[in-house]
């Protein structure tokens, strides 16, 4: 999955879509996942990394990743 070329995400979790002017504030989990996507990780790896960095089980991690990916697709943040 590739994020839109117009999407800029800061370390603090502020996202700016430069072709529309839309802005988003990401919580810690969302910020973690979006940076993982930026680094080119696939969904399976992101789930594993989420479990490693946050104290969550696999079902919760998968749900968080899937939910977030659905949301960024809904907002046209992926190519």
């Amino acid at each position: 999955m590739k994020l839109q070329k117009y999407l800029a995400v800061s370390e603090s979790g502020f996202a700016f879509l430069s072709n529309t002017g839309d802005t988003f504030i990401l919580n810690n989990t969302a910020n973690f996942i979006i940076h993982q996507i930026q680094q080119g990780h696939d969904e399976e790896t992101i789930v594993e990394n989420l479990m490693e960095n946050y104290d969550v089980d696999k079902i919760t991690a998968e749900k968080d990743v899937n939910d977030f990916i659905s949301q960024i697709k809904h907002f046209d943040l992926v190519e």
């Binding site: 430069s18 002017g21 839309d22």
Partner: protein, 346 residues
Amino acid sequence: MKIKIAVSGLNNTDNPAPGVPVIRAIKNHPDFEGEIIGLHYDNLEPGIYMEDIKSRSYLIPYPSEGVDNLLNRLTQIHEKEKIDVIIPTLDSELYGFIKISDKLNEMGIKTFLPTYPNLEVRSKDKLWEFGKKYNINVPKTEIINSLQELNSSAKKMKYPIVVKGLFYEAHVCHTFDQVEVNYYSILNKWGLPIILQEYLVGDEYNVAAIGDGDGNTIGAVAMRKLYITDKGKGWAGVTIDDNNLINLTHDIIRNIKWRSGLEVEILKRNEDGKYYLLEINSRLPAWVYLTQQAGQNLPYALVELALGKPVKPFEGYEIGKMFVRCSYDLITDIKTFEKLSIFGEL
């Protein structure tokens, strides 16, 4: 070289005119040397009272008082000030200024105004034909000149419908009753024709630009409003990176050989992602100071064009540059207001 530039539209209220931001941009240009002269229509225009905006300001007659009165007043002001350039910034005054532009030129006052054909072709009541001619999407539009036409045209359209005046105002209506109320309201204020326009759902964008009159774009900056007031005015906005908006603006300027500043209002429709032209305003917008801060000093380019200097087109601008308007009270003395009221200048 020291120059004197007169700028109108100092009304900096919640429905601001472009004068103050135009002046701020000009004064920020490193090559600018000289003075700014304000031209105001009302003694309470806030720009008159703002510090570091103008050296002096003069009352001028409203457009409704005719071009002879305007020319006489500008002649008086010119005798005192020796103005080099005038930049009118309001839609309503453009016809008058165009009419006297040759005489101003003879007096040594330069302008860079749109042509009459420029103004006519982009008029709201001709925008539908404009779109068809140049293959640009425009929301379906009906021009209304009577109550009978309002009835028959509204029946043909799908609700909601936007009811617009030729120069100002636009209201979204969900029923025919609302259409009728707004028809009369706009009719009483601005007269005929009234425009009915298909309401499209999507995001609105604005582009501030300058055309050189030969079909070339000198500069163009796209902006998305982040906060819109109840009057529909942008209170905050951010520069954005969408070449579709810039290319559409280039097409418009090329097709009609637009001369002077303009603002293009565009809607990106949610349903199909297509871009629709909503309006072409025949002057720089009130948010034009953002263009200077983003790297395209459009007001100063307009001054240089008026002076007949070659102006190199701008390339690119900073994305993510924001403006946020503010409103605060300026304190003055009744003596200042008295001087303005009695002498028409400050």
